[in-house]
């Protein structure tokens, strides 16, 4: 019986822990995506209402919107990079 336990501890336990680690990494990426998702939603929503109110300023608003998206998106991407690095 102890030999069986030792076998499990040697091989399968490590695999199981690795799977749990991968699951946690995915969970962490999901958490890292929440905030930027909300932020990009706010930026784009407000940009659309600004463009609807003043269609003549659409070009300027669009450029600024992409800038805002780029700055926010960096956070989500850093979460993605950490996720990729942490995968076993």
């Amino acid at each position: 019986m102890f030999s069986i336990l030792a076998q499990i501890a040697a091989g399968e336990l490590l695999d199981g822990l690795k799977a749990i680690g991968a699951g946690l990494a995915v969970l962490g990426y999901g958490l890292a995506a929440i905030g930027p998702g909300l932020g990009i939603g706010m930026v784009v929503g407000n940009a659309i209402s600004a463009m609807a109110r003043q269609p003549e300023s659409a070009g300027m608003v669009r450029t600024t919107m992409f800038l805002g998206i780029a700055f926010i998106e960096a956070l989500a991407l850093i979460g993605f990079v950490a996720f990729m690095l942490m995968l076993p």
Binding site: A22, G59, M60, R62, T63, F66, L67, I69, A70, F71, E73, A74, L77, I78, F80, V81, M84, L87
Partner: protein
């Protein structure tokens, strides 16, 4: 990794390419390097062909592509962000846009299907180049002392807060800017490539079992290919626009 009983290749298989020429030297050539060389040649070729003298005044063919690209950069990047005195950065920004675009777009070109910017080398080099340029421009325009003062001590902040603001601005201007510029481009391309590979493998594996369910991931693959074309354009545009923002910030400090 193993999901749905199909073998997903390890990530290194998707991004590491064997060297095919000049092994074990600094100049080793692999698929990524070939894509970069091709992107450089295509960029130079477009503008050389477009700039050659011709009889008719109406632009046609490749000249039209180059002229609309230049107009796009001038209208939506330089004039919006830097202003009329940013015109001298037009060559830099235009070639940056086209080079980044051509090395991104290989992600969806059949039989190449690898975004060269999915490797960190060129994004990091470009970000370092941009870092050098905006610092040199700032020192030239405002002087060493003025540039440091304007970037570390933004006006309009009550003076006790400068003990907190100055270190934050130091890190954000000189460390985070180039880092985030490189990571943004690179991680977008890595994520897009992984997405396309995932759906391609999924549809191939389902096709092996039975043909009908493979339609779903294949439709998703086509949708994602369209999305990745958009992302390639957008990332090239964002890289250019952020370069313009940083240069513009060094040229016109906030008063």
């Amino acid at each position: 990794m193993n999901f749905l009983a199909l073998e997903f290749p390890p990530v290194s298989h998707l991004f590491d390419w064997p060297t095919i020429w000049l092994d074990d030297t600094l100049l080793a050539v692999n698929k990524t390097v070939l894509i970069y060389i091709a992107a450089t040649i295509v960029t130079m070729l477009i503008f050389t062909l477009a700039g050659r003298p011709r009889e008719s005044l109406v632009p046609a063919g490749i000249q039209h592509v180059a002229e609309s690209g230049v107009t796009f950069i001038e209208k939506s990047v330089v004039m919006q962000i830097i202003g009329p005195d940013g015109k001298k950065f037009m060559p830099l920004l235009t070639s940056l846009f086209f080079f980044v675009l051509f090395s991104n777009i290989t992600e969806v070109i059949p039989f190449i299907q690898f975004p060269a910017n999915g490797r960190m080398a060129i994004p990091a080099t470009l970000a370092l180049m941009v870092w050098l340029i905006y610092n040199v421009v700032g020192v030239k325009k405002q002087g060493m002392f003025g540039y440091l003062k304007n970037s570390l001590f933004p006006p309009g902040v009550p003076w006790p807060l400068y003990t907190i603001v100055a270190p934050i601005e130091l890190v954000s201007t000189f460390v985070v800017r180039p880092f985030s510029l490189a990571v943004r481009l690179w991680a977008n391309m890595v994520a897009g490539h992984l997405l396309l590979v995932t759906f391609a493998i999924l549809s191939a594996a389902l096709w092996e079992i039975y043909y009908a369910p493979a339609v779903l991931p294949f439709a998703m693959l086509i949708l994602m290919t369209g999305f990745e074309i958009l992302v390639s354009f957008l990332q090239a545009f964002i890289f250019t626009i952020l370069t313009a923002v940083y240069i513009g910030g060094s040229m016109h400090p906030e008063h």
